[in-house]
């Protein structure tokens, strides 16, 4: 066996079925070996960043490890954005990159880049393979590291000569990583303390994040049992169904009034699988000023106490801990607390006028109603992303895929590809902005090549809308370099050029029919909605602010 064959054998042994990648000189032996291994499906993207985001979304939609493959130098460097993205949003990924031959490493050889050096801070771990006989061990370790603990990307840099070398070793059955032993089982005493604190609390809330996506079942049981109000971060959407009466929405910068008020008043927060990122907390010093007890459940000890002090830290797996909490919990007497929350909810429905204009919010809502909140939703980054989080009623876990921590424009289209590959029978809806879409739109070719029936909902406002919104609010309407409409392509023709059916919607009255038309399409489709440009995402807590600084409605002049 050659190194390249060993790599593929090791991937098969890890249960890999799909690889997203792009070939090149330094990875050709692997591609040659792939030619003979038909059980490994390879999805050819048109850019390595696309392969990285597709593998990321595949992982998050399926719960498995995503695999991306690229050549050395430029190929590997094109993967870096996706690696950083996966690192931030705790996604299990194994990236394999070709490298110049070991004898040429360090000589500035053709297409050489120090990929292990470059990716050190944006991977959970990385390897430069120097001996073919180490390869099975390294692959096994890489998958183990990627999927356990706080999941994350692991990169294996594989020099071309090692890919060609003859293997004389064996495939290990076990792993020996003495420096890496994530704690799965939360400490029983901490769980006892957590349950006691919950019983004693008057205004408790549950906050769930991306680390709770695999724990939806026990968490839903816990919520059922206790009747506790639930808030989900951007990455936590779907852990509890959006139509659950105990769900208050998203917290933070573009969170609901009820969620942010509840955090402001809460005396206890049970946080599961989240890290209190600054988009959630705003000014940390003024975050949750009435909080007495934070029970912070996270598998990564470093994420506990990093931003907010936890009175009851619980290091452990979200599903394992939630299971114990669901078992031990009792119904909580929260009538008074709920009355206050209901009042906030009634006074502050998510604002958007239904004045006959075609607005992103209405488009997303209409798709939400037509799909019953059951679609797999993918987004770009910007206003449309926040609108999707606010208005698409996500019912199921692993079904809202968005770039949260890194906020990567261009995530959407390739991520939709990964999601559709992971969940072939399901409706995948991509809500994308005209700016974000143009960062990775070459992947339309990938959509066409594999006939992936993705519904691309392009919310074209002709602007880099989110930046424009900040210019509206904080830079006195100086719209510096955010206008796209004068040079945007004809998106309908563009999609058609790739052989993807497309149509344009310009008026509010056409919306419902357009939604049906898009959903009725068997294969891929691009529906371009020419939405109102002068629009803001509200409520909004300005960066570094607190609940008290919340802007709940657009300022007067911005509304006209």
């Amino acid at each position: 066996m050659t190194g390249a064959e060993v790599l593929l054998e090791a991937l098969v042994r890890e249960g890999v079925e799909v690889i997203f990648g792009h070939p090149g000189g330094a990875i050709m032996p692997v591609y040659d070996a792939l030619y003979h291994r038909r059980e490994l499906r390879h999805i050819l993207t048109r850019h390595e960043q696309g392969a990285g985001h597709a593998a990321t979304a595949y992982a998050r939609a399926s719960g498995r490890v995503g695999v991306a493959l690229a050549t050395s130098g430029p190929g590997a460097l094109n993967l870096t954005t996706a690696l950083a993205d996966a690192m931030m949003d705790a996604t299990p990924l194994v990236a394999i990159t070709g490298q110049v031959p070991t004898t040429a490493v360090g000589t500035d050889a053709f297409q050489e880049a120090d990929v292990t050096g470059v990716t050190m801070p944006i991977t959970k771990h990385n390897y430069l393979v120097s001996d073919v006989n180490d390869l099975p061990r390294i692959v096994k370790e890489a998958f183990h590291i990627a999927r356990t603990g706080r999941p994350g990307p692991v990169l294996i840099d594989l020099p071309k000569d090692v890919q060609n070398d003859t293997f004389t070793g064996s495939f290990p059955e076990t792993i020996d990583l003495p420096g890496y032993r994530p704690t799965y089982k939360g400490h029983p005493r901490q769980i006892e303390r957590a349950l006691a604190a919950l019983r004693a609390a008057e205004r408790p809330i549950l906050m769930v994040g991306g680390g709770a996506q695999h724990a939806a079942q026990p968490i839903r049981r816990f919520v059922e049992r206790t009747g506790i109000p639930v808030i989900a971060t951007l990455q936590g959407l779907g852990v509890v169904a959006a139509d659950d009466p105990r769900f208050l929405g998203m917290p933070g910068m573009h969170g609901t009034v009820a969620a942010n008020r509840a955090i402001h008043e809460a005396d206890l927060i049970l946080g599961i699988g989240l890290r209190f990122d600054d988009r959630v907390t705003g000014d940390v010093a003024r975050f949750a000023p009435n909080l007495k007890t934070l029970i912070h459940v996270n598998i990564e000890p470093a994420d506990i106490g990093k931003v907010i002090e936890a009175q009851i830290p619980v290091v452990g797996d979200a599903a394992w801990v939630a299971e114990r909490l669901a078992e031990g919990a009792e119904p909580l007497a929260l009538d008074a607390w709920w009355r206050r929350i209901r009042a906030w909810q009634e006074e502050n429905p998510l604002p958007f006028p239904e004045d006959g204009e075609l607005r992103s919010q209405a488009v997303i809502k209409a798709f939400g109603e037509a799909t019953g909140g059951e679609a797999v939703v993918v987004t770009g980054v910007g206003q449309h992303q926040m609108f999707a989080a606010q208005f698409y009623p996500v019912k199921r876990p692993r079904s809202f895929l968005t770039s949260g921590g890194l906020g990567t424009m261009g995530f959407g289209l390739p991520a939709a590809i990964g999601a559709q590959v992971a969940r072939p029978g399901e409706t995948v809806l991509l809500f994308d902005g005209d700016g974000s879409f143009q960062m990775t739109l070459q992947e339309l070719a990938t959509v066409a090549k594999y006939r992936l029936p993705i519904k691309i909902v392009l919310l074209n406002n002709g602007f880099l809308g989110m930046v424009r919104q900040w210019q509206d609010l904080f830079y006195e309407d100086r719209y510096s370099e955010v206008f796209l409409a004068d040079s945007n392509p004809d998106f309908v023709k563009l999609a058609e050029a790739y052989g993807i059916p497309a149509f344009r919607v310009e008026r509010r009255e056409e919306l419902e029919d357009a939604v049906q038309r898009a959903l009725a399409e068997e294969g891929p489709v691009l529906a371009e909605f020419r939405v109102k440009a002068e629009e803001g995402v509200f409520p909004m807590i300005p960066a570094g602010g607190s609940t008290e600084d919340m802007i709940t409605e657009p300022p007067e002049e911005a509304r006209s």
Binding site: P121, E173, A302
Partner: protein, 172 residues
């Protein structure tokens, strides 16, 4: 409260492991006052010691972020009674017999050794707590210090306390 901590880290002796650690320190904005590395009696295991300054929260993060690294086997903050040593080589210019005698006296007071002698230069070797070395250098600053090299502090708990490694194969 900001305090000076000496932290020992046992690591797998892999290429780039030191880069991983120092790059993590830099990225997270932790300041390293000094650093020393060396092999241990355990094959494949190296030991690094850091002197860092920070409040409790920062030091807790330093330890946790170190522990996150796959090749880090053990992190210990020497909080109890500890031995702490640094080594320095210092080359000083000398003019005339009088200066030579004065310098020798200073060296004796600090138990420093003269390890090299030249016509116009003396080289001292001194070991001890970094604070002692600071004071030694301060004394010498009245003369013509030509070159200094300090190793960074190494540390160990006093008494019978030792840093132990867990050794267990994990089947996955």
């Amino acid at each position: 409260m900001r305090q000076r901590h000496v932290i020992s880290v046992l690591v797998e002796d892999h290429p780039r492991v030191l880069t991983r650690i120092t790059s993590m320190f830099a990225r997270r904005g932790f300041n390293i006052d000094s650093l020393a590395v060396g092999r241990t009696h355990i094959p494949g295991v190296s030991r690094i010691s850091f002197v860092v300054e920070g409040d409790d929260r920062t030091i807790e993060q330093v330890e946790k972020q170190l522990n996150r690294l796959i090749e880090v086997l053990k992190v210990v903050d020497h909080e109890g009674p500890r031995l702490e040593r640094e080594l320095a080589l210092v080359k000083v210019r000398v003019e005339g017999i009088e200066e030579r005698i004065e310098l020798k006296e200073i060296a004796e007071a600090f138990r420093a050794h003269i390890v090299d002698v030249a016509r116009h230069a003396l080289t001292f070797e001194v070991t001890g707590h970094p604070a002692k070395i600071d004071r030694f250098l301060e004394e010498l600053s009245n003369y013509g210090v030509l070159e200094t090299m300090r190793t960074g502090a190494v540390a160990m708990d006093r008494g019978e306390r030792v840093i132990k490694l867990r050794a267990r194969r994990e089947a996955v």
